[in-house]
Amino acid sequence: MLTFIVKRVMGLVPVLLIAVILTFLANQAVPGDPIAALLSDRSGDAVLEARLRAAYGLDRPLLEQFISYIGGILSGDFGLSFRFAQMPVSQLIGEGLLITPLMALAALAIAFPLGVLLGTLAAIRQNSWVDTGIILVLVAGISIPNFAMATGLVYVFALQLRWLPVAGWGSVEQAIMPLTLLIIPTAAYIARLSRTYMLEVLRTDYIRTARAKGVPERVMLLRHALRNTMVPLLTTVGIILGGLLSGTFVVETIFNIPGLGSLAIQAIFARDYPVTMAIVLLFTAFYAGINLLVDLSYGLLDPRIRVGGGGR
């Protein structure tokens, strides 16, 4: 097991390297020069431009810039921000680091059981009004874009009913709408999948056998059926997390949450390469890490899939 874990962690390195290379190249390819953006109206000042370019190391050849960047990352130094004078990128990101992944995980932690519950309910009452009702809600939840839902929620709960604040971060009420916005599409997606897998599982022989044996419905559901839907469901957690992370970009912008999502959007517009690269790397690492955990958890759920060993 240990060798497996080590091997998989090592496997992250080429993934991250490719991510860095791609982002680095993408930043260079995008039209717009960060120094020109920084100078704005003063771009006629050649002396100032040369000074700034040298200060940020942008006058060196690309390969050299890239190598020195890699060296920096390994020691935790992501460089200086282009937008905020003298501010290390790690400081800017540090502030958002506590917020965005936590929000994404919290949303996942609530959406997952909620989705499984709804999906299972729909499956065991298949084709009844419960099932149809739930499916309608799910389709709405997946189809309505989050910015449209956001406007609706803000209008109803903040402006009309005055129950919740419009935006901001720091209090419990301020977290309710943003989290809801992240939870709804996620739970809807999980519920759809869960319903499908559950329907499949309920038709299998061993479930029929268990029923014939007289196993109580509830026990059978929890012990046997649900367990078997978990493995395929967990596979999707990785993908879902990706969707959640990109969902935070929109949610944070709408609700003024000072997390990595809104920081990334602002950095992209300001051509703040060091910040964009750092955030891409962080998200990639986070995403890869979660997927690794998911892989490892298979072994716990299904002894047949003891990864690295037998049943492959």
């Binding site: 039209p31 717009g32 020069d33 960060p34 120094i35 020109a36 953006a37 100078l39 704005s40 109206d41 771009s43 006629g44 000042d45 937008r83 905020f84 004078a85 003298q86 800017l92 502030e95 958002g96 803000v154 903040a158 402006l159 005055r162 129950w163 919740l164 604040p165 419009v166 935006a167 901001g168 971060w169 720091g170 209090s171 419990v172 009420e173 309710i176 912008t253 709408i254 609700f255 003024n256 949450i257 000072p258 997390g259 809104s262 920081l263 959007i265 602002q266 051509r271």
Partner: protein, 525 residues
């Protein structure tokens, strides 16, 4: 059994919302009991909060409440003395002697003296400090170049005569020095070099800096020893709200007292009667113009072609159609509310027939023989170039295509004089029309992006720079403007109207051509 289950769930759901509402109300009420801060929004984190490296608009909104210069502006846009009680020009306008106000206490508790003036100027010019916008105004001071080249750390042209008198000598005449928006800092903050002043609150203004929670807000507290009208609110909170719509929603939910409405939310404000009623409007100190570079497109060399272009624009329709009526047609290149504005100059009238005739006279009847041209600008100006291109095609049959360019590269190209046809603008850095004329249309100016040159115009500007008497100088501005417009050196387009929202219980807010005045005049009932 299932029915009961559902009912219990609903009851619990309702109870939860009720609890959340009560909690919310309690928290809201508790807020009222503490210090009453004025809450407003800014669209992004400020780039900096010190007056030395200060270089962008958002920072300016905050710094204007903490720092002051020799002079300030009144709600009507006129100059009044601030840290300087009076000033006298040296012979030939080669400098000024300022008599400073006595008894002014800085945020650090020290008395403001001439030493602080000298220290601030020197800090702006030391290259390592990366002096920002305000450093540009010091180029005219004797010894400034030596400081910028790193040869010395003291500014020879600034002489401290006594604690309340300072004489500043120039290397060339500049009559507008007193109105430049300097931000004077307490010299003790400068002692620690750049590290020291980047985070200090060392101004003389009605508010002092408390904290900056990046991405969340910037908080100021009232300066109890302010020399002028002390603030009646306890402080100001600038909440960082990148989304213009969210800011207006927050205002509607009473989470903000005052909002400067950004472009994206103007339509919503104008279409909602309750919001429109609470709005303040003032024309911005910002010119907009259509640049026509004669070096890059031969037909622009003919005055008749330029006149034809200007006459084919129906600015009133453009304003109603694309700007929600929130603009005025601009007659010259100085806007209302800025010193030197010529109220008797009339905007170029829309005259399609006249324009067609002129173009034909110039040898391009119905647009024939005209080489294709692109009108370019950045994405926020997309509607504007669409309008111009379609109008010119429709009226003159001119072969115009649109081009949207990324901001950084566009500004660079404009500064290099490489853009042939473009709408752009310019915001006044100080409250005098000279800013527009000398920065945008004076021949040698690096920001004369259309590269228009007229010797008579340049001579008038140079003379104005030496004319201290306001009325005489404004007359020179008027003459220069008349030449610019008479020669159709550009087509002045519009002046934007700023919109701000204030809650009914907020009094004393002043929206001028230069955005908000410091908030010490504001009270919340």
């Amino acid at each position: 059994m299932h029915l009961n289950h559902g009912y219990a769930k609903r009851r619990r759901g309702r109870a939860f919302f009720l609890a959340a509402a009560v909690l919310g109300a309690a928290l809201f009420a508790a807020q009222g009991a503490d210090a009453r801060n004025l809450k407003t929004s800014i669209p992004a984190d400020p780039g900096q909060i010190d007056p030395i490296t200060y270089s962008e608009l958002v920072a300016g909104d905050i710094l204007g409440n903490m720092y002051e210069g020799f002079t300030a502006i009144t709600p009507e846009g006129k100059i009044r003395p601030a840290l300087a009680e009076s000033w006298e020009a040296l012979p030939d306008n080669m400098g000024f002697t300022f008599k400073l106000r006595k008894g002014v206490k800085t945020h650090l508790g020290n008395e403001f003296t001439a030493e602080d003036v000298k220290a601030t100027f020197e800090a702006l010019l030391i290259p390592e400090n990366k002096g920002g916008l305000n450093a540009g105004y010091l180029d005219v001071v004797e010894g400034a170049k030596d400081m910028k080249d790193g040869k010395t750390k003291t500014l020879a042209g600034v002489v401290v005569v006594d604690p309340y008198t300072v004489t500043i000598k120039f290397s060339k005449p500049d009559v507008l020095f007193p109105v430049y928006p300097f931000y004077f800092m307490d010299k003790t903050a400068m002692a620690g070099g750049a590290e020291g002043f980047l985070k200090a609150s060392a101004g003389t203004g009605p508010f002092k800096f408390v904290k900056w929670d990046r991405g969340q807000n910037v908080t100021l507290a009232k300066h109890a020893d302010y020399w002028g009208a002390k603030a009646s609110v306890d402080g100001v909170e600038f909440l960082i709200v990148p989304n213009a719509d969210t800011a207006v929603s927050m205002f509607e939910a009473k989470e903000l007292d005052v909002v400067y409405v950004e472009q994206a939310a103007l339509r919503r404000v104008m279409k909602t009667p309750e919001l429109k009623e609470l709005s303040l409007q003032a024309p911005a100190a910002q010119i907009r113009y259509l640049g026509m570079n004669q070096n890059l497109y031969a037909p622009f060399k003919d005055k008749r072609v330029r006149e034809a272009i200007c006459k084919s624009l129906d600015l009133d329709s453009m304003i109603t159609g694309t700007l929600q009526g929130l603009a005025l047609p601009l007659a010259g290149q100085i806007t209302p509310g800025v010193a030197g504005y010529n109220a008797s100059l009339k905007p170029i009238a829309f005259d399609a027939e006249g324009a067609k005739k002129l173009l034909a006279e110039a040898g391009f009847p119905d647009g024939k023989n005209m080489p294709p041209i692109k009108i370019s600008s950045t994405d926020p100006n997309r509607n504007e170039i669409l309008y111009f291109a379609s109008q010119l095609k429709q009226v003159l049959n001119m072969p115009v295509e649109i081009e949207v360019v990324e901001r950084g590269s566009f500004i660079k190209a404009m500064n290099a004089g490489e853009v042939p046809f473009f709408p752009w603008g310019w915001s006044a850095g100080y409250p005098d029309g000279m800013y527009f004329l000398s920065q945008v249309w004076y021949g040698p100016s690096p920001y004369n992006r259309a590269r228009w040159k007229n010797a008579e115009f340049d001579a008038l500007i140079e003379e104005a720079q030496k004319t201290a008497d306001n009325e005489k100088r404004y007359a020179l501005y008027n003459k220069a403007e008349e030449i610019l417009v008479g020669e159709y050196g550009t087509c002045p387009t519009t002046v934007r109207i700023q919109v701000a929202l204030q809650q009914p219980n907020v009094k004393g807010l002043a929206l001028t051509a230069f955005r908000f005045l410091p908030f010490n005049s504001v009270s919340i009932q």
